[in-house]
Each structure stands twice: as structure tokens, then as C-alpha cells.
């Protein structure tokens, strides 16, 4: 099992979600987040005062998948979330030791 964490543009959420469902991923968690990588921010003006907004709204998507689905999931996210412009986001992948379904104590990949 591996955890895939993807930070993406909020406008790409629906496309990414559909792409993941398409390759057979059933569960995911979505967080509304703020952050920036190399993109930095933008400036806003309110009555003559300039504000730099460097933490921009992002969506962080988390899903834990069986090993055989990891590459498919990454490809799905890449194709759905990419615009080619700076600020498209990042994907992080890490190992997961255990998964437990709370309802019936099921363990391992079948609990996903």
C-alpha cells in the first residue's frame, strides 16, 4: 500500500477525481489548503494599500492505494491536473504500513 498526496489547483479537482475513479480508485480525502511552491503569490489592492498574497488557495488530495495501482493513479493525476503553467502542483508518494477498516476491523489492502 502506498499513500499518494497531490497538491493541485482547485479548478482541477473535478477532473482529477473523475480520472482517479476511472482507474479504479474508490476512496480519497480532499483538504482545502493554502500554499505555494516556486509560483509565489500575487498582489492585491484595497483602497490604495498593496497586499502581497503569497499563500494561494490549493486542494490537497490524499488517497491510499494498493501497490499495483500507484503508477496508474500518478498518470491519472498528471494528465488531469496539468496545464503546463507554473502552479500546477506536486505529487508525493510514501509507503503505508497498515490500513484498518473501522466498521469491521478488516486489515490490509482489502480495507482500502
Amino acid at each position: 500500500m502506498q499513500k499518494i498526496e497531490a497538491v493541485i489547483q482547485p479548478s482541477k479537482l473535478d477532473a482529477v477525481k473523475d480520472a482517479l475513479v476511472e482507474v479504479g480508485i474508490e476512496g480519497m480525502t480532499i483538504l482545502e489548503a493554502r500554499g505555494h511552491g516556486r509560483q509565489k503569490g500575487h498582489t492585491e489592492f484595497y483602497r490604495g494599500r498593496e497586499y502581497t498574497v503569497d499563500l494561494l488557495p490549493k486542494i490537497k488530495l490524499e488517497t491510499v492505494v494498493p501497490d499495483e495501482l500507484v503508477e496508474k493513479a500518478i498518470q491519472a493525476i498528471l494528465s488531469a491536473a496539468r496545464s503546463g503553467k507554473i502552479g500546477d502542483g506536486k505529487i508525493f508518494v510514501s509507503k503505508i504500513d497498515e490500513a484498518v477498516r473501522i466498521r469491521n476491523d478488516e486489515r490490509g489492502p482489502s480495507a482500502l
Binding site: 492585491e44 489592492f45 484595497y46 483602497r47 490604495g48 494599500r49 497586499y51 502581497t52
Partner: protein, 445 residues
């Protein structure tokens, strides 16, 4: 038999006249009661939303409560004392005490003020002006003043600044009263000097006396919701029809003039501010548009019942550009923290509007000045009466002086008695929690 018209008896004529008077009174009274409600709507929710959206979210309720508190405090004060201090005949500078506890304020008209509506309608209509005026000041000391100090200061301000100024301009025998024989007849249709210059100038004094918010201007203090401000500003625009067109005190043609001018002034000023922003910053902002509209409404207030519609467009446009300049350039140049621009919009726009009223007042719209034989005299400079510009300057100067001195003395007093500012840690935590024990937005529940 021939169908010859019978000459009506004097009884019938008298009866007919009474019916006509009752019909006119009914029409006037209904418009004035609607106007009263519209002007109250300007404070709550109009101004409360406008100001509430401009502060950070930890201060939204504290800011709204300052406007709302005026709706309660000034009302009780008005019933007990300040109506009398404002509208009893008294001296040239302040009214007397004959009407305290609303003694003698009944359902019959007082012809000196308004011949066709109950005096109580006049009283409640004027109360709504007395409510919004101190509420406007709260924009200057937003996000840092104690609720107790704010309540005490604005109560005293209503007594010692608002009542004298309103008496001088609108009260019987007032020094500046244009229609009841004042020494320097100042044209102020709906409160350019009484409401906007007094509140705006007092706001500047408050901003200077209290000092800047913690971290200003280094730390960002952007509006937490321009959406709230947007709704508030649009409610102000609508409410302003009651403020200005209602100041005709009847439902006749003068109300129409004031209504049209009010709308034209707001529209031209919104365009003026947005155009200035577009040229200088590259983008017209929503906050700029609504700020411009309010500036135009402020500037047209003294002129609303005296000028022609094309003059209203000129006054509005001038106000939009001038207030933009005051807020963008002058405030940053001098570095005072007039947090929500109460001075930049109301003080500056009110002063400009009061002076321009002297230029554009036309006797064709409102023949306010008459000679001993009842012939109409010229109103403003457009009629050839350049002297009126001087009278307007006298009115403005008195409003500035009484506001500066009154506000300084009262702030000093309140500072000694209860202290003006919240402690540093309360300012960081926000007024909502520290002053009221609440939060405007609780996303956990």
C-alpha cells in the same frame, strides 16, 4: 330645468379644504414614515455591513455592534434630551430644554419645521440622522477601541457636537439656518455639514488621537469580505433616497428633485473613482466602485434639494475623484490610520459637497431666499449669488471647528475616565472575543 352649477356654501368649502389638507397630510406622512425607515436601514444593516466587511474577521461583530449600539443609545438619548437640544428654539447655538422627554411633541404639525406631517414623524425622521452620524465615526477607530469607551464617547458626542451643529443649521433661530432667518444662511439640504463634515472631521481627530492599529501599516489589514461591504454600500445607496428625498419633508416635487440628484451623484462618483483607479492602478476594483458611490452620496447630500440634475452629475464626478485622491494619496502621505476612511469619504466629500452647493444652488429648483415682498432671490453662484459660496464656507468652518474642539475634549475626558484603547493582547485577539465573547464566524459548529 337648467343644469346650472350651484355656488357651494362656505360650510362646504371649509369641509372640502379640510379633506384636501387631510389627503395631503396622508400622502406626505406616508412618504416621511417610509423615509424614516430607509434612513434607519442605512445604519443597520447598511453601514454595519459596509464597515463590517472592511475589517479583519476577528473584529466583524465588534465593528457591526458599534453601529447597532447607536441605534439603541441615540434613540433613548433623543427621547430624553437631544431632540430638545436640537429642535427647541433656544439660542443661536443650541436648543433649549422645553421638549425634554418629548414634552409637547405630539401628532399635530409644527409649521416652522413641516406644516403637513405630525411633529412626531418629524422627530422620528430626524432621530435617524442623529443615529447614523456618530455611527459613521466608528470607521476611524475600527479594530482598537473599547466598547465601553466608544459608547460613552459617542453619547457625549451626540450631546455636545451633533445637537449644537444640527440646531445651528436646522433648528429654529439657528445661526446658520437658511429658511428660519439665520445670521449666515448655509444651504444644507440633508446634512452635508451636520452629518458628514462633523462625523468625518471628528473621525480624523479620533484616528490621530487613538493612534494607529498595531502593526499598521507594516502588517496587512485587508478587508475580510468585500462582499459584505458591497451589500452594505448598495443598501446605503437605496437608504439615501430616504435621507435626501425625505429631507424635502413632503412628497412633492422637491422630493423628486432630491431623489434624482441623489441617484445621479452616486452614479457619477462611482464612475469617477473607478476611472481614477483604472488609470492609475490598471484595474477598476469593486471596493473602489462602492467607495466612489458612497462619496458621491455624501457630496450630493447638502445639494440634493437645490441643484439641477446636470449639476448633480458634476458634483458626483468631482467627489469620486477627490475622495479617491484623499484615500489613496493624502492618507498614505500623512500616515494617519483612518482605518475605514471615514474622513477620506465623509469629511472630504462632505466639505467638497457643501462648498459646491454654494456654486450650483439654483432658485429654479428651490426658491429658498425671498426678499421682504416675497420675490425670489438668487440661490447660488450659478444664479449670480457668489456670496453664497462664502456662507457655505462659514458653515463648513463652524462644522470643522466644533468637531475638532468637541472631539478632542471628549476623547481626553473618556480617556481619563475609562481609557480608549483595548489592551495590546485584546487587539491581537480581536474585538469580537474580547469585547463581546462571541465570534462572527464559527466554522466548527
Amino acid at each position: 330645468m337648467s343644469a346650472m352649477a350651484q355656488t357651494p356654501s362656505s360650510d362646504q368649502v371649509a369641509k372640502l379644504q379640510a379633506q384636501i389638507a387631510a389627503a395631503q397630510s396622508g400622502a406626505d406622512n406616508s412618504w416621511m414614515l417610509i423615509s424614516s425607515a430607509l434612513v434607519l436601514m442605512m445604519t443597520g444593516p447598511g453601514l454595519a455591513l459596509f464597515y463590517g466587511g472592511l475589517v479583519r474577521k476577528k473584529n466583524v461583530l465588534g465593528t457591526m455592534m458599534q453601529s447597532f449600539a447607536m441605534m439603541a443609545i441615540v434613540t433613548v438619548l433623543w427621547a430624553f434630551l437631544t431632540y430638545s437640544l436640537t429642535f427647541d428654539s433656544g439660542t443661536s447655538f443650541i436648543g433649549g430644554l422645553h421638549h425634554i422627554f418629548l414634552k409637547g411633541v405630539g401628532l399635530n404639525p409644527d409649521p416652522d419645521y413641516s406644516a403637513t406631517i405630525p411633529l412626531q414623524t418629524y422627530m422620528i425622521y430626524q432621530l435617524m440622522f442623529a443615529i447614523i452620524t456618530p455611527a459613521l465615526i466608528t470607521g476611524a477607530f475600527a479594530e482598537r477601541m473599547k466598547f465601553s469607551a466608544m459608547a460613552l464617547f459617542l453619547t457625549l458626542w451626540s450631546i455636545f457636537v451633533y445637537s449644537p451643529m444640527a440646531h445651528m443649521v436646522w433648528g429654529k433661530g439657528g445661526l446658520l439656518n437658511a429658511s428660519l432667518g439665520g445670521r449666515f444662511p448655509t444651504l444644507d439640504f440633508a446634512g452635508g455639514t451636520v452629518v458628514h463634515v462633523t462625523s468625518g472631521v471628528s473621525a480624523l481627530v479620533c484616528a490621530l488621537y487613538l493612534g494607529k492599529r498595531l502593526g499598521y501599516p507594516r502588517e496587512a489589514t485587508p478587508p475580510h469580505s468585500v462582499v459584505l461591504s458591497f451589500i452594505g454600500a448598495c443598501l446605503l445607496w437605496v437608504g439615501w433616497f430616504g435621507f435626501n428625498a425625505g429631507s424635502a419633508l413632503n412628497s412633492g416635487t422637491l422630493a423628486t428633485s432630491a431623489f434624482v440628484n441623489t441617484h445621479f451623484g452616486a452614479a457619477a462618483a462611482a464612475l469617477g473613482w473607478m476611472a481614477a483607479e483604472w488609470i492609475r492602478n490598471g484595474k477598476p476594483s469593486a471596493l473602489g466602485g462602492i467607495s466612489g458611490a458612497v462619496a458621491g452620496l455624501v457630496a450630493i447630500t447638502p445639494a440634493a434639494g437645490f441643484v439641477k440634475p446636470m449639476s448633480a452629475l458634476v458634483i458626483g464626478l468631482a467627489a469620486g475623484i477627490f475622495c479617491y485622491f484623499m484615500v489613496f494619496k493624502v492618507k498614505n502621505r500623512f500616515g494617519y490610520d483612518d482605518s475605514l476612511d471615514a474622513f477620506g469619504v465623509h469629511g472630504a466629500g462632505g466639505t467638497l459637497g457643501a462648498i459646491l452647493t454654494g456654486f450650483f444652488a439654483s432658485s429654479a429648483i428651490n426658491p429658498i431666499f425671498k426678499d421682504a415682498n416675497g420675490n425670489t432671490l438668487p440661490s447660488g453662484a450659478v444664479d449670480g449669488n457668489w456670496h453664497q459660496v462664502l456662507n457655505q464656507l462659514v458653515g463648513v468652518a463652524i462644522a470643522w471647528v466644533i468637531s475638532i474642539i468637541g472631539t478632542l475634549v471628549l476623547l481626553r475626558f473618556v480617556d481619563l475616565v475609562v481609557g480608549l484603547r483595548v489592551p495590546r493582547e485584546h487587539e491581537v485577539e480581536g474585538l469580537d472575543l474580547t469585547q463581546h465573547g462571541e465570534e462572527g464566524y464559527d466554522f466548527a459548529s
